[in-house]
Symmetry: C2
Subunit: 343 residues, 2 copies
Amino acid sequence: MTKKRVTSQDVANLAGVSRTTVSLVLNDVKGANIPEATRQRVFEAVKTLGYVPNEAARALVSQRSKAIGLVLTRDPSHIDTDAFLPRIITGLLEVVKKHNLRLLIESVNVDHQDQVYLQLARAKRIDGMILSTPRIDDTALRQLEDVGIPTVMMGLLSDSDLYSVDVNNRLAARKAVDYLLRLGHTKIACISNAPESYTASPDRVQGYRDALEAAGIEMDNDLICFGDFDPQSGYDRMKSLLALDKKFTAAFVASDNVAIGAKAALRAAGLKVPDDVSLIGFDDIPWAQYSDPPLTTIRLPAQELAKSSCLMLIDIMQGLEPVDKKLILETELVVRSSCRKLD
Amino acid sequence: MTKKRVTSQDVANLAGVSRTTVSLVLNDVKGANIPEATRQRVFEAVKTLGYVPNEAARALVSQRSKAIGLVLTRDPSHIDTDAFLPRIITGLLEVVKKHNLRLLIESVNVDHQDQVYLQLARAKRIDGMILSTPRIDDTALRQLEDVGIPTVMMGLLSDSDLYSVDVNNRLAARKAVDYLLRLGHTKIACISNAPESYTASPDRVQGYRDALEAAGIEMDNDLICFGDFDPQSGYDRMKSLLALDKKFTAAFVASDNVAIGAKAALRAAGLKVPDDVSLIGFDDIPWAQYSDPPLTTIRLPAQELAKSSCLMLIDIMQGLEPVDKKLILETELVVRSSCRKLD
DNA sequence: ATACCAAACTAACACGTGTTACTAACTCGT
DNA sequence: ACGAGTTAGTAACACGTGTTAGTTTGGTAT
């Protein structure tokens, strides 16, 4: 009754060869000369028995698990509303599958990150890892280099030696604000995507600053605030901004997801987009183009980000030096209808 | 220079005991009597060396990988815009972490599903799996039972013996349409969430039918069509419906994600929600409450679905018979502002 | 003094694979 | 005929852990 496990020994027995030969055939070892007839016998036996090599045994002897990990360094509550995660995942899955790897997902609560990193790495559960949304104050990142597990960051940590793939957040933000400036706006509010400790956030604010400065517009720090990933935070921040009564005519919200909430707050205040306030987002999540009005935003190549990270990681895992240690992908201004020209 | 791997033997040496003792201490085996002093010595050594047990070796000997798999049975393009996936993942991660398991994500392209299922199961990469969005015509599901890997389906396949967790799609859909009926609508269009082959889809349409029938309203099959997961499909279907010129006053769209597109199509046709057409969705994705107008919808307890599936799976993996073989969770009508009362 | 027993530990096997070093047989040029 | 090389295959070890059966040590009852 109990399903007997099928091992390579069983295959060997059925094919009338040794276990070694089975291994040589299945792994297509080129040094060994196995005549076609024998190979076929082995394949036949494999098929008959439905044999699948035990990954644990294989991992043990080869010292590699053939899996990579995607580590999310955010609170689950923030991940919940992340409209990008699915794209990241499909991007990773595509590459991972092509290379016969598996994808492990792990989230670390900000408290004891160190443990988790080391655990995963040392336990050899994964051969490499992709870190998403790194934080500036993440001390565990330093330790990571000691463990010596191949790592790629999606998102740049400027003062780190680790490999990374990212967009130029600063430049992209500037592109967005420059666009608003071209439309004639001068009083422009800014809601960033996340708290300052997440690296992309201050970068995007800096881009906002760059644009205003280049245009010779005086900065009003009251108009700058930091969201917290989800729409609710956008709603709250926009409400606060409106309470200041500063009469801004446009807002740069450095995350479409946060912009969703910001827009709701504008509506609640009786303000229309773009008639009363122009709104430009960041990311181009799927929702953006179907919003009412369709949201003008900066397109972040989410899937490319994921794929490139993954490919880079695989290179590193194979001991190859990737062409770029820090790869920067292009962003693109996507003009829709949420910004109007000021007369 | 080369980082030497730390094994339990090293720990044993440092602590001045045998490797067996180390294992007994670390796994807290109750039969063995290890005095407190020795235990402390072992823990000390573990800490000093930064020892972490090799998972592959552990998996090999214990015949369990301590990982579960989430298998997505959809095209990547559909997963991309799935606003629910993040919630599912955080739900799973929460439970998984609590039980010291890992989460593996796998997508199977509809073509060769069988292989993938079997591969994962036989290779012992995972101890159990959660299937999302099962399809009616999925023959591999049958084979799955043969392999004998614990499996839970998120989404019900009525004629299958497998364990499952789902909502009552039919009843939930009826709730939605009943609400529209109460508001006085009688010409109600229906766009389902997915092609008919995905089980939830025909169920929801059936709920729509139930409601109309109970109200004694004649059915117009032209008003029923099937979306395809993403907003674009909603846009297309709604456009087709409008082209029929059937003058419906309300639409039940069995997926918020599809509803996003449907709403855009209405807008493109110069129709306002809810003034011209009332719109009710399904799922209550994060976007729904921030939509303009806020979308009335049926709340699907995504995270609960994930958690319950996971808990059920863990029960099964431990050989326990879960209380319900087919668990049904509650849905809830969430009234917002996308439906108006007809006079 | 001997038998017995519990406490504290350990030697040795099993898990299923990849791989190296080796053998036996067969071919071939001289 | 004979050494050299090739071909086809295998025995045996390594990977790092969990676990069983067994061994020593020291104490205690008979």
